[in-house]
């Protein structure tokens, strides 16, 4: 279970929060001018990396405020939380311990992420 450091309330249990998916997704400025394909990307396609990415959380059973987080999806470590409107910290700042895109060691194992390297 994750502990999430709400920027307004401090560290609380993950079950108090609801995940809001990828953060910083910009709505196209001129929806009537974009192609169906671009609109489809905006509506349906979200980043889904095995590794570090930006996401939104809302403190549903607390202050009910939205905020952003940087999390490593291969270990569930939350690397940083920051308020809505704050600039996203550059992802390169965080060390990604993964060796390959899908995060497996040289000889594959489905449970790699459980082991600490």
């Amino acid at each position: 279970m994750l502990l999430i450091n709400c920027p307004y309330c401090g560290e609380r249990d993950q079950i108090e929060f609801t995940n809001g998916g990828e953060a910083h997704v910009a709505r196209p400025k001129n929806p009537d001018q974009v192609s169906d394909r671009e609109w489809s990307e905006y509506v349906f396609v979200r980043a889904n990396p095995k590794g570090i990415y930006y996401e939104r959380w809302v403190h549903t059973h607390g202050c009910k405020k939205w905020f952003n987080a940087v999390r490593n999806t291969s270990t569930d470590e939350i690397l940083k939380v920051y308020k809505i409107g704050d600039p996203p910290p550059p992802i390169k700042k965080f060390k990604n311990t993964l060796k390959s895109p899908s995060g497996e060691p040289d000889v594959g194992s489905g449970n790699f992420a459980v082991k600490k390297t």
């Binding site: 349906f44 979200r46 889904n48 990415y53 291969s74 489905g110």
Partner: protein, 416 residues
Amino acid sequence: MKKKYSIFNIVKNAFSNNENWKKMWRNPEPRKFYDIIIIGGGGHGLGTAYYLAKEHGLKNIAVIEKGWLGGGNTGRNTTIIRSNYLWDESAHLYEHSLKLWENLSSELNYNVMFSQRGVFNLAHNEHDVKEIKRRVSANKLNGIDSHWADPKQIKKLVPIMNIENCRYPVLGASYQPRAGTARHDAVAWGYAMRADEFGVDIIQNCEVKKIRTKNGKVYGVETTKGIIRAKRIGVVASGHTSVLAETAGIKLPLQSKTLQALVSEPIKPVINTVVMSNAVHAYVSQSDKGELVIGAGTDGYNSFTQRGGYNTIEDTLRAIIELYPIFGKMKMLRQWGGIVDICPDASPIISKCEIEGLYFNCGWGTGGFKATPGSANLFAHTVAKDEPHSINAPFSLERFVSGKLVDEHGAAAVAH
């Protein structure tokens, strides 16, 4: 087809302490070039290789698996098989699969322990009742053996269920007698064995790191065992499909989440069917060993950890105890998580893409096991002919641009 298993073989091998059974499949080193590479050695991937060789007569095929066969979601699901989906497109897809299940053990000459013990989908409120009755009618129109069961009939078949004195009383259910369960490892092993007989190279412990393309065509894959070239590549990597697609520059509308399952200590037979509940959200069946096999919804955030959070287990077991107070003092033996890839409309993608020779079979989300033979069969058709079968044509990537979604969120008898 060579028959490796027979009563005579069992007797013969018993005399040598079962030490002389032949290996079920070879363990070859990868060649430099294949006509077709399938990435992912689960049931769907191995089945695809099997049908490519058997039904389309293709040769020079490899299946590349990063771990061991069936070690991903094939070995992590709760083995439920059914076809009572609401929309026509899904009903045809899953019914195609169920028909293949019914003959799978004899086709592979390998016992996948397919047991048609029936599946109940419970209704706990007025809305559930109306929605399920609608789905039952839709199923009947599609020739699927779904019917409405009232609480008395449910109680007769599942006497341990608490249907009245609870917060969410059971008001009825849909029942599909032809639905059931199967042994999930056996499905992967059976397909692997028969694919191997057709000359398919099954390469384990070999991770694909990158899909290489050249001038809008596939070139090959970079793996931990070097570069392997291929004319056509089929990606069947469940939760990791979008990670692989990204290496070829393709963004898929998938989100990978953890789906947990757990089993209890083994007990004497108490439940001889499968019961799923959407409103209190848990499903349960009993394995042949006697363990209760329990599952529910996904964890609420993207993750590749294959673990999941304790709060989801708590929710699941709360629902189980509400429905079956008799299980209140049981101990849970094991718990695990699998990484499922969920589409925005909770329906799969079996499709070509803009890169020539690259095909995807993904997005099965929380319910891919039941579709294994059908998915493999249709994907093999798609890869072999470079065009979809009429059954999987609605499940193309294009549907997210055209807007013609097959929205099974909530319509598919369980919440996703």
